[in-house]
């Protein structure tokens, strides 16, 4: 089963960290990466640039509207993600708990819906 581990955190938290504090968080991600490799888990994960770099698209009345900036106005922003292929939700949560950002933010764990199939072309 594949799970998305979505990392939500107020962007100011990262911005206000000094280099040593940032290094500590990155070391936590390094440790998680190493652990996933050790356990033989297939996974990927990336950080995202801040929401100031976002573009949002909406299709309304047949017209695509483009606006710069993020879609949602929220206190915490999507900061990055992991996608892990594991046997159970418990395992996914175990890895999620190792994501260092959970001290100031929130990790949302969601299974991929792999039963939705695209129609034949």
């Amino acid at each position: 089963m594949q799970y998305m581990l979505l990392i939500y955190e107020a962007e100011e938290i990262w911005e206000n960290k000094n280099d040593a504090e940032k290094a500590e968080v990155l070391a936590g991600h390094r440790a998680l990466n190493d652990r996933l490799h050790e356990d033989g888990v297939t996974f990927t994960g990336e950080p995202l640039m801040p929401t100031a770099t976002a573009v949002s698209l909406r299709r309304r009345n047949g017209q695509t509207q483009i606006s710069d900036g993020p879609f949602a106005e929220t206190k915490e922003q999507l900061a990055g993600f992991y996608l892990v292929d594991v046997d159970s939700l418990e395992q996914a949560m175990e890895y999620a708990a190792m994501i260092p950002n959970n001290e100031a933010g929130t990790i949302e764990v969601r299974p991929l819906d792999q039963h939705i199939l695209l129609p034949e072309s």
């Binding site: 107020a10 962007e11 100011e12 938290i13 990262w14 911005e15 206000n16 960290k17 000094n18 040593a20 504090e21 500590e24 640039m49 801040p50 929401t51 100031a52 770099t53 976002a54 573009v55 483009i66 606006s67 710069d68 900036g69 993020p70 106005e73 206190k75 001290e103 100031a104």
Partner: protein, 408 residues
Amino acid sequence: MDASLGPILKAAYPQVVATLIRVLGDMDIAMDAAQDALVKALQRWQVDGVPDNPVAWLVTVARNGAIDGLRRDQRVVSLDGSVVNLVSTPDMEVIESEIDDDMLRLIFTCCHPALNPQVQVALVLKVVLGFSVEEIARALLLSTAAAEKRLTRAKAQLRDAGVEYEIPAARELPARREAVCRAIYLLFNEGFDRIHDSLVATSPLIDEAIRLARMTARMFRQDPEVRALLALLLLSTARLPARLDAQGVFVPLEAQDRSRWDTAMIREGVAIIDAVYAARHPPGSYQIQAAISAIHSQAETAANTDWPQIVALYERLLGIEDSPVVALNRAVALCFSGELPAAVAAMDELRNVKQFERYQPWYAALAFVEAQRGRTDAAREAYRVAIELAPSVAHRAYLERCVAQLDA
């Protein structure tokens, strides 16, 4: 101290102060109360953990502490109705949208047009960023007494002008937003000026200006100019490590070692300006300046730079702000794009600009263009004045090197 608490408290501070000023009605009382609450948070959070909403926690604790203090001082009887009402208000629920509004109010108040820009910067440092008077003095190269005086004057000016602690009406917003951007830009330039001769690649003022720009960009979600300002600051800061050579001599953009530029900052700055342009806003001044900076940042060499595009962008900028400084930049860009006759004509039009009489960049640019067209004597004379007006030892050393090359 738990290392994770510092960034959380630092991020919360401006929002806490902003709300407290509204609730308590007094800037000084609000800042004292916020400080007390931060101290309490450091003690409590290490034991109990960080609360779900740190800002609401801090505001509640600070407000309760301030009211206790007021009661003790017996000052509560002499206060106006709003504070007395507040004492009887049950525990406050801080609504998140209210906090955002409070932040906007605070920034608008600090950047009120009734204040002169220098005073705005001091006030932003104190109130929004939580600098102490000593830190402000150090940052702005003032004595502590002078910094104190500037802050006192700021508060007096706010009082005299009858400035309301409020969000301006919708029709005033664009003009006020410009004042906010200008104050951030000024803060940034203050930081830039502090490190002229120094090999360090940043200064606290530059970092704080970027932090403030990020915060403001999040608040003015619909405003491409604020985001463009953030991109401009990032792209300018990215080049700082290359602006001096190993001997501490100034290196102009076209001669910089581009491998020393900060690639992470460039990636983010370019990504922001790409996003802003993708939404096809009518371009404003910061958008154009950031676009010019992005072109430089992405060029592999000075010769590879898309100079005609830069000339075109300066022309668009001239359409928005008809300033001789922009015209001068256009003239120099023309020279780099190989259009020497056009560059000379553009420079000739600027020769009698009053504003340029003691403007160092004018003489440096004039010397450069004269040298390009082989008028060595005219170039030497312009370099002489440019050296006399040089803002730093590093600039002087660079210009002297240019003169030596003329003679070679």
